[in-house]
Amino acid sequence: MNRLVRRPEFGAIAAFLFTYLFFALTTGNSGFVSINGTAGWLNLAAELGIIAVPVGMLMIAGEFDLSIGSTVGAASMVVAIGTNFLGVPIWPMIGLAILLGGAIGLVNGLIVVKTGLASFIVTLATNFIVIGATMGVSRLIANVTSSSIISDPLSKFLFAARLGQANISILWWVVVALIGAFVLARTSFGNWIYATGGNLTAARGAGVPVERVKIALFVSTGVAAALVGILQGVQWNSGNSTYGMGYVFQAPIVVVIGGVLLGGGYGSVLGIFVGTAIFGVISTGIFYTGWNTDWIQLFLGVLLGGAVLANNYVRRLALAAPQG
């Protein structure tokens, strides 16, 4: 029991149960807890969750990535401009979008590692640079900042298939989380991530290639963001430079709700997964209550703050629990 309570995701799971029960009770019988209602909040959480897993792992290693927002939009526009204006089939453009995401991550990683600048600032700058470049290039080529996407049956299936009302993005989210969990908990690279975020100097002294670890994680956040851009683009048949802007701070928020310490060195993928689920429940559930949504932001903020506090409280209790 004690071992269980000491896990980083324990507080997040407690907070999830609390928020879920809260909405299960307040939404009455408007179908929030039905299969379709559940699919609804999972669909919302999945797109954010695919990004939140690598972002969380990067935060465990002690760095931020705020450029993921505009990378989502950039990837969707690469696919849109290529398929709609240049007549290229969708698959090469998907490949290009993924490469672009990786490249943005690589540039972030190199700048952070080589200059020692705070990644918070570096990636915030990248976020502006990428959205600006996306808009400029799109206007140059096609005179638009959003555009239709022409997809094929295979890409439609892989990125936009639905089972009932559940999107295939949920499956992608689970796969990404499983990969992340495996890497973090079962590989030496995972140990390096904890070491890098826990104590950089000690990790370096112990022979951990901290630069390589950080760069690899930045590349993974970029690729994940590009994947979400492709998912959204194919799903909605259009690319838009501003897709993903909401994720810039939503991703770190759900990571922290999931029990990752802002300072790095502590956290788990299961926690991040549950943190994203909490966000999905809160931001979808509120509409099922039928309440006046003028208060939505206040409400969302209070619930998120409450989830973080509950999480923190549970963790303290856990760490203070007697050993044995």
């Binding site: 900042t145 509409f287 939505i296």
Partner: protein, 336 residues
Amino acid sequence: MRNFFEVARRGVVRAVSVAALSVIAVSAAMVPVQAQDEGPILVVSGPLSWPFFAAVKQGFDDAAALYGVEYQYIAVTDTANMTSDYPRLLQQAISRDPSMLLVGEFFPDGMDPLIKEATAKGIPVIIHNSGQTLWEQNGSLGFIGEDPYQMGYKAGQIQAEGGVTKGLCFNQVPGNPTVEARCTGYIDAMKEAGVETVYQTIGTGEATNQQAMMQAIAGTLQANSDIDGIYTLNAEPAISALRAVADAGKAGEIMIGTADLSNEVLEAIKAGDIAFAMDQQPYLQGYLSIQSAVLYQRYGLHPIGAVTTGPLVIDNSNVDKTLEVNREFSGVRGAS
């Protein structure tokens, strides 16, 4: 901890110096354009990330090319703090002493005093897109655009006549007074017809997250199962609404109408899934602004009174022509 702050501080200092240098480099590369022989023609208008304003800019560009004048388009890139960013941009534009100032008055509280200042200084101002109730008082030459309240009102009328018994106005950008006025107009028209309405907003920052908008509308439809009309304020939420309605198993039972258009919305109108879209003809707002500016500078001519560019209601009777134009001239009619 102190270490972290020290590193962060040094990082910020370094980042700021790099940023400052790049700004200097960039501004050196961008010599301000000159119109005639006095100041530049400056345009303060909406963010180009919105297809709508991309079409407005297209109108500015085409008219400027036609008349052989140069102008500079000024807009925010980050839409998070527009209410405070726009007055700042306008202030900067005025301080450059333009020969003509073409402004979208999106946030009257902050922008109106500045426009009064500009006209008092003798800078000729033409308002476009937003500010239809203010241009006469602030000394501008004229207004080219739509009345958002009337636009929403018309949408409410169409839905009430179409037999809607409970209408939803979904606002994806809460806090934007122009856009909010559309919902106000819609709700007023519905009230007059004795129809119930629901007003729904979403968290800021989700304006382009179509999944979030879809789930919000889906939840609202569940919480208010008697909604049978939806009015959205942009093309993207219209598509989100379309899918939320389909998921709720109410396709064909709920009348969807929207402001603004995109190819997908036009296709949905053609298929009969969306009842109507309202085009405020953004291209005209830009085009006629430059035209008026040039005619004023050359001959002292300008239209007397507001020039209304919308709403042009697009339904299945005239959707084909719009689709055709949208395909052929990407970006002229709005989203593509």
